[in-house]
Structure formats: C-alpha cells, structure tokens
Amino acid sequence: MEEAQLMQYLPVLMLGALAVVFSFGMLVMSVVLGQKGKRPPVKDIPYECGMIPVGEGSTRLSLKFYLVAMLFILFDIEVVFLYPWAVIYREMLKESGGAILGAMLSFLGILLVGYLYAVKKRAFDWKS
C-alpha cells in the first residue's frame, strides 16, 4: 500500500522535471541567443523612471506585512484542518448525528475568537 502511495507521485516528479528543464532551458537559451550589448554605467543603476536612486535599494517596510504573514500561517493551518473534516462530514452525520458538527463548531468558535481579537487590535486596518 505504501509503495502504491509513493507511485502516485511518480507522474508529479516527471511533470516537475519537465517544468524545471523547461524553465531553466528558457533562461539558458536566452543567454545563448540574446544579443550582447554595451554596458554603460547608467545601465547598472536601478530603474526608477529616470530618477537617480537615493539610499538603500531595500527600503524599510510597514510592520503590517509581518503581521499579515503571521496571521496567514495561523489561518492557513486551520484551513488545512477543515479539509479532512469536510470529506467525512456526511458519513459521520449518519453515524454520530450532530457530534461531528459540534466538534467543528467549537473549533471554528475558537478560531472566530482569535479572528475577532485580530480585528479588534486593528491588525487588518491598513489606513492608519
């Protein structure tokens, strides 16, 4: 059984190999076929619509982006937990009645409290 499970991924590996060869092949091809131009110093300046760049290339960022990244990890994991539940939901309804619904409602309830907390803390408020 385990081997059969792994065999499922063989086509994915083949597709992955094709994708890798294709992408890097394109990159290499354009180096080989592309024109070689001159290299005046101005060409090496970061493009900012003709302005001469000032300061560091990597600027400082709003803290909001880190917050979004963290919240994403939390919520995305919840979503993954929901899938197995969704798949067996109707079968379990026949067997155990509302227990499966209650189990997931309590889980979603806790999630909702966390979500409301994030809203209250203005984590999603991009205007300020």
Binding site: P11, V20, E48, C49, S58, D76
Partner: protein, 368 residues
C-alpha cells in the same frame, strides 16, 4: 540493452510511466498553446473594447504574434544589472514558472480513454496538493522583488506576497463547502464506469467532485457564495485585474519585474498566464462540472475513445470560457487600492467564507 528497455516499458510500471509521459506532454503542450494564444486573445479583446486594431501584422489576424513575441524575447539582450543579488535574480523567474506548471497535475481534464484516467497524477491528497503548490508561487515573486535590490520591485514584491497569502486563505476556505456537499457520494452504488474512474481515490480527489456534479447538477448552483469568493480569490491569486497590485504600472513602474529583461521577463509573464489557465481549469472542475455535460449522455465516463475525446473538448471549452471572462474583466473594472484589497480579503471574504462553511454544515445536519 535495447531489448531490456523495451521489456521494461512492457511491464506494468513501465506502461504507467509511458502513459504518464504521454499525458504530461499532451497537457504541457495544450497549456503552452493556451498561454500563447490567451495573450493574443487578450490583446485582440482589449483592442476591440478600446476601439483599436490590436496585433494584425504577423500572419492573418496577427495569429503568429505569439511566435514573433517568443522569438523577440529570446533575441533580446539578457542583461543582469550590477546591483542585483545574482542567484535569486536568476532563480526567481523559474520559481514563478514551475509551480504554475505543476498545479495542473491533479486536475481531471477528461474521463477515460480506454482504461486510462485522463488525469496526470491521481493523488489521494487531491486538492490539497494544488493549494500547496500554488503557495509556492509566492516565493518567486518575493525573490524577484528582493533580488532586484531596488525600491519599486521590492515594494511590489512585498505587496504582492501579502496579497497572495491573504487571498489564499479565502480561496482555501471557499472550497470546503463543496467537499461537505459532495462528501455524500456513495461509490458502491455507481455504475461500473464510475467505479473504474474512482478506483483507489480518496474523498479529496477532484474526480469525486465531478462525479457528484454529473449526478446532482453543478456545484455552482449549490454553493454560489463559494463560487463568488473563489472567483475573486482567483483574480487575486493570479495577479489579474482588478487585483493586479504587483504590477500597478502607475505607482511602481511595473512592480517586482522592473529589473528583468528578455526571456526572464517573459517567464514571469508566461507564469502568470499559466497559473491563470490552471486556476480556470480548477474552477471548471470545482464548480462547472469538469469534463461532464448534462446532455446526450455525456454525464457518464467515456466508454469509447471518441466520447473520451469529446469530454476533453468539453473541459477545454469551459476553461476557455472562463479565461475569456477573466480577460474581459480586466478591461471593465478599475484597480482596487491596496488598503481596499486587504480589507476585502481579510475583513469581508474570510468571515463570509467561515459563515458559508458553518451554514452549509448546519443545513446538511438539519437535512440528515
């Protein structure tokens, strides 16, 4: 030596490898064809909407334009500016392209031809694989922005990574009601064709959704809210209007791909269209009945090769319809502002998707 290779291809493992290779090459070429010509269609449609001509010089109706564009991309100077982080700069276009090619692996693009299922990999993690791979696409864009070591690409990359991950949650949640509804599928009661189509699949397999839809009607009718959320998230995930924040030309001069030239730039472009096509294919399977069509007995797995081919045709027609709609929307809708975008994702769609899950579950419970 040669005999040994021929013998190996005759063995069950060898045969499955051979069939997989044929399917992969077929899907890959069709995908690339759609990518090339959706660019052409996009330019023609935008021209028609804006009362212009669009490409009309290369070939009849400009039909050879994609080929000309490809040749041009190859022949342009492949310039690596001195200020970039070289390794990431080189990796980023490939990392954008690879996941968008990989997502198509689990989408059933047809029923059966002979005994072969028209799906590249019949994984039992099913749709979770797609969401996993789609997440990887973020890396390419972040790396492109980071590698450029230049302000506009950096801001563009960070913005779009926040956008992509925000809408991924809504997208993942919007699909759950479909599995709740279609979870009641009883494989034992289905006919032999369905049995062979679903042999060895788990509940997350997309062919199960198609099966359920063939028997009960398309899921867009059962879960319209899911459809709306998925549609919006699809636009956001593929960086399309009205969510094309990564490429807001006016503010960021183009976003994460500013410092790229030649084929590297074209790879970002192709990656975007490939993931758009993959998302359209996913949407077809999830909401629009996949390869099935409720007329003329096309709701059954194919018994002959011809019907198998017709199923593939139906699937492609549905995908092209969605792609056309996506292109159309681009010229009809203004772009969101960034705070509106994040607000819509986090404060509207996520609660809506959660409520949708709970309501669907409660209704199913009340019915049982």
């Amino acid at each position: 030596m040669i005999q040994a290779i021929i013998d190996w291809f005759g063995s069950p493992v060898g045969l499955s490898v051979l069939f997989s290779a044929v399917k992969i090459l077929g899907v890959f070429s069709v995908l690339m064809f759609i990518v090339a010509y959706s660019v052409w269609v996009e330019r023609k449609v935008s021209a028609a909407i804006q009362d212009r001509c669009g490409p009309n010089r290369v070939g009849i109706f400009g039909l050879l334009q994609p080929a000309a564009d490809a040749i041009k991309s190859f022949l342009k100077e492949d310039f690596t500016p001195a200020h970039v982080r070289k390794t990431y700069y080189w990796l980023a276009p490939a990392i954008v392209m690879i996941p968008s090619l990989l997502t198509v692996a689990i989408i059933p693009f047809g029923s059966l031809i002979g005994n072969e299922k028209m799906i590249i990999a019949d994984l039992n993690v099913g749709v979770l694989y797609t969401f996993g791979i789609v997440s990887l696409g973020v890396y390419g864009i972040v790396l492109a922005g980071y590698a450029a070591r230049s302000k506009y690409p950096f801001i563009g990359g960070i913005r779009s990574s926040a956008q992509l991950i925000s809408y991924e949650i809504a997208m993942g949640m919007s699909v759950i009601p479909l599995f709740l509804i279609a979870g009641g599928l009883d494989v034992q009661q289905l006919s032999a064709g369905w049995q062979s189509l679903l042999a060895g699949t788990s509940g997350l397999n997309l062919n199960r959704l198609v099966t359920w839809q063939a028997g009960n009607g398309w899921l867009i009718c059962y879960a319209p809210i899911s459809f709306v959320i998925f549609l919006a998230a699809m636009f956001a995930e593929t960086n399309r209007m009205p969510f094309d924040m990564p490429e807001c030309e006016q503010e960021l001069a183009g976003g994460y791909n500013v410092e790229y030239s030649s084929m590297k730039f074209a790879l970002f472009f192709m990656g975007e269209y490939a993931s758009m096509t993959a998302a359209a294919a996913l949407m077809t399977t999830l909401f629009l009945g996949g390869w099935s069509l409720p007329v003329a007995g096309l709701n059954q797995p194919a018994t002959t090769i011809w019907i198998g081919l017709i199923h593939i045709g139906i699937f492609l027609a549905k995908v092209c319809f969605i792609l056309f709609m996506v292109i159309w929307v681009r010229w009809m809708w203004p772009r969101f502002r960034y705070d509106q975008l994040m607000d819509l994702g986090w404060r509207r769609f996520i609660p809506l998707a959660l409520a949708n899950i709970v309501i669907t579950a409660v209704v199913l419970w009340a019915k049982s």
